[in-house]
Amino acid sequence: MILLFYIAGAVAVISTVAVILQTNIVHALIYLILSLLAVAVCFYVLGAPFAAVLEAIVYAGAIMVLFLFVIMMLNMGQHSIDQERSWMGPKVWIVPSILASVLLAQLLTVITQYDHELALTTVDVMEVSALLFGPYVLAVELASLLLLAGLVAAYHLAKK
């Protein structure tokens, strides 16, 4: 199990790197799905099977399919790959990489202060649901409104 976490973590990191380096957008999308699935595995290991399932279904599934639709609509071919390559000179990487590294280093410095072992107890669907429809019931309602807003906005914006 532990090993699984680290492997999945490694896969997630590698495939994420691949996403941001890819020039072919469809490939990148596949890598992203891979990354998300790997994260889902991590969720599972961390004792959140419900979250893992949702990650796989909603994120890797539904959302990425949306992406795929759009990419297909945009009809990007070889031309776009060349264009991507031309946009990705080494220069554009320097500043963002340094910045992200510094941020990461800062995060690492403080996170490594932790000395706590996760017990990896499973918190299952029951518990989540009980909470969700207990104290957090308003959150569910609000999430629906959030989706409504997204829906209306997306509808209005995307229509021809």
Binding site: V95, P96, L99, A100, V102, L103, Q106
Partner: protein, 616 residues
């Protein structure tokens, strides 16, 4: 009598107001009547007052009118103080003033600004009367500044010529320097003695200050500053020659008879202070001496008839200062009076000459006028004799007294006396140089023109001639004023000295005769000597004082003002604005519209804040 004093300045003031309010819409006859008549009324009043006052045997008289301003213990009033000195001054002012007004009524008849002229003149007389009658220094200062203003206005009377305006401003500003010194003196006196009432102040000074104390020196020096400014003494004498730009009656009234002697009056009025500061008093004498000599030398070289007279005025006031400096208070006042007579006479006569010659000023373009201008000639002869202290003319008596007093003085008295005598010698030369050149010799052009325009111009000349000749016999009632300051012993002057004093002016006249009348000596030959030429140039320019002041004060001031015309401070603020603008331009460049740059700013911002947060 008390009821009358306020009328003195009121008549001319009313004259001024009526002329101003009608703003030149009255016929000239009426204007002249108002202008001269108001002074005439004043003179009559003054005569009545003087008669009553002198008859009453009082030493002084105070007439309070209203409290001017009362702030804490500072309570100067609008009050008049009459004593012998004031009586003399008031009579001179109204008397000579009236004659000059009378003369002006004819002299100025052709001028389009006739009414304006009399308005200013009346205002001047009013101010001058306030000056001499004031019982406190603040009121005196009011008159003091008032006469300065009128002097300015009248010097610049013909304002279309810029140089007249320049002369007027020069006169005002130069005297203002002195006035400011005087104002500071007033502050000091009030701060130290708590009053500006002259008598109280003098009394307090006597009781509180030791002889030679620093405060007395400071106070008297500051007042002296005012006096030298007004009286055109060193180092503020440069304005007076230029002041001749005004109409000639002005020169007679303001720049010869009355205003310029205000400094003498001031010192005489506050003589107690000067007695408390012997060093300053001595300085006074030296100033007088040096001024009289410098002006004398300069007068010899001038060829503008009025400038010659102007320098001679400076020189004569130098005598008065010399007299004040040696403690001959009443002699100085006496000389003031006689000088008023003969110098007014000279100026008025000069005015006649100039008038008849179409405003020609240069004496070398005149000549042989004694036939054409008999009254003027007579006036000039008498005036010049008095000026040169020809025996038994009025000038002789007064100058004599001053020189004797100088001689009697301990210490530098002899030098002062010698200087004074030398001055008298110079006076003889320059005064008769004028007479000889203008009235004798060959006539040069300008034949036409009648001499004197009617009675109104002739009468004053004749009256003044009488006074210039016989004014020396008048006894001025100032003994009570200077009673405690003056040495009242019989003169112990040897006959030799007397003889010298009589002879020296005659020598001067003689030298003048040899040069300009008989042509025994030639000026041209003398001028061949380069040293003489240079000296002549130096004297002619008034010892280079104008150039010096221009270099020291005027040009730096104008230069600094021009350099900073746009106000340096404004530039500082403009710089701030510019900095802001540049900051705007620079920071506005960050708004590139590029999404990735904005994202970078967010990422960078977070990293920056975290770094700051952790480090700090």
């Amino acid at each position: 009598m008390q009821d009358l004093i306020w009328l003195l300045p009121t008549y001319p003031l009313l004259g001024f107001l009526s002329l101003v309010l009608t703003s030149g819409n009255l016929p000239k006859k009426v204007v002249g009547a108002i202008g001269a008549g108001s002074i005439g009324l004043s003179f009559l009043t003054a005569a009545v007052i003087a008669y009553q006052f002198l008859g009453s045997g009082e030493t002084h008289l105070v007439v309070e009118m209203w409290t001017w301003m009362a702030v804490g213990n500072f309570t100067p009033g609008f009050s008049f103080y009459l004593d012998g000195l004031a009586v003399v001054m008031m009579l001179i002012i109204t008397g000579v003033g009236f004659l000059i007004h009378l003369y002006s009524a004819g002299f100025m008849l052709d001028d389009p600004s006739y009414s304006r002229f009399f308005a200013y003149m009346n205002l001047f007389v009013a101010s001058m009367l306030v000056l001499v009658l004031a019982d406190n220094l603040l009121l005196l200062y009011l008159g003091w500044e008032g006469v300065g203003l009128c002097s300015y206005l009248l010097i610049g009377f013909w304002y279309e010529k810029p140089e007249n305006g320049y002369a007027a401003r020069k006169a005002f500003i130069t005297t203002r320097v002195g006035d400011t010194s005087m104002a500071i003196g007033l502050f000091l006196l009030f701060a130290e003695l708590g009053t500006l009432n002259i008598q109280e102040m003098l009394h307090a000074a006597e009781t509180q200050w030791a002889v030679g104390s620093g405060l007395a020196v400071a106070a008297s020096l500051l007042l002296l500053g005012g006096a030298v400014g007004k009286s055109a003494q060193l180092p503020l004498q440069t304005w007076l020659p230029d002041a001749m730009a005004g109409p000639t009656p002005i020169s007679a009234l303001i720049h010869a008879a009355t205003m310029v002697t205000a400094g003498v009056y001031l010192v005489a009025r506050t003589h107690v202070l000067f007695e408390l500061a012997p060093n300053v008093q001595l300085l006074l004498a030296w100033i007088g001496l040096i001024t009289l000599l410098m002006a004398g030398f300069t007068a010899m070289t001038q060829h503008d008839i009025k400038r010659i007279l102007a320098y001679s005025t400076i020189s004569q006031i130098g005598y008065m200062f010399l007299g004040l400096g040696v403690g001959a208070w009443s002699a100085s006042v006496f000389h003031l009076m006689t000088h008023a007579f003969f110098k007014a006479l000279l100026f008025l006569a000069a005015g006649t000459v100039i008038h008849s010659l179409h405003h020609e000023h240069s004496i070398f373009k005149m000549g042989g006028k004694r036939k054409q201008l008999p009254i003027a000639f007579a006036s000039f002869m008498i005036g010049s004799l008095a000026l040169a202290a020809f025996p038994f003319t009025s000038g002789y008596f007064s100058k004599d007294e001053i020189l004797i007093a100088a001689l009697e003085m301990e210490g530098p008295g002899m030098i002062l006396w010698l200087g004074g005598v030398l001055g008298a010698f110079l006076t003889g030369i320059y005064s008769f140089r004028l007479v000889f050149v203008v009235f004798f010799g060959e006539s040069k052009g300008h034949h036409e023109e009648k001499e004197v325009a009617g009675l109104s111009m002739a009468t004053p000349l004749i009256i003044l001639m009488v006074f210039a000749l016989f004014g020396g016999w008048i006894q001025i009632p100032v003994d009570a004023v200077f009673s405690h300051g003056e040495v009242h012993e019989e003169h112990h002057i040897s006959n030799l000295m007397h003889a010298i004093m009589i002879v020296v002016p005659l020598l001067g006249i003689g030298v003048s005769y040899l040069f300009f009348m008989s042509k025994t000596f030639s000026v041209e030959k003398l001028m061949a000597n380069p040293l003489a030429t240079r000296l002549h140039g130096f004297w002619f320019s008034g010892w280079g004082m104008d150039a010096l002041y221009s270099f020291l004060f005027v040009r730096p001031f104008v230069f600094l003002a021009q350099v900073n015309k746009n106000d340096l401070i404004d530039a500082v603020y403009a710089l701030l604005v510019e900095i802001t603008r540049v900051a705007h331009v620079m920071i506005a460049r960050t708004q590139t519209g590029q999404l990735r740059w904005y994202a970078l700013s967010i990422g960078g911002g977070v990293v920056l804040l975290i770094t700051l947060g952790v480090v700090l």
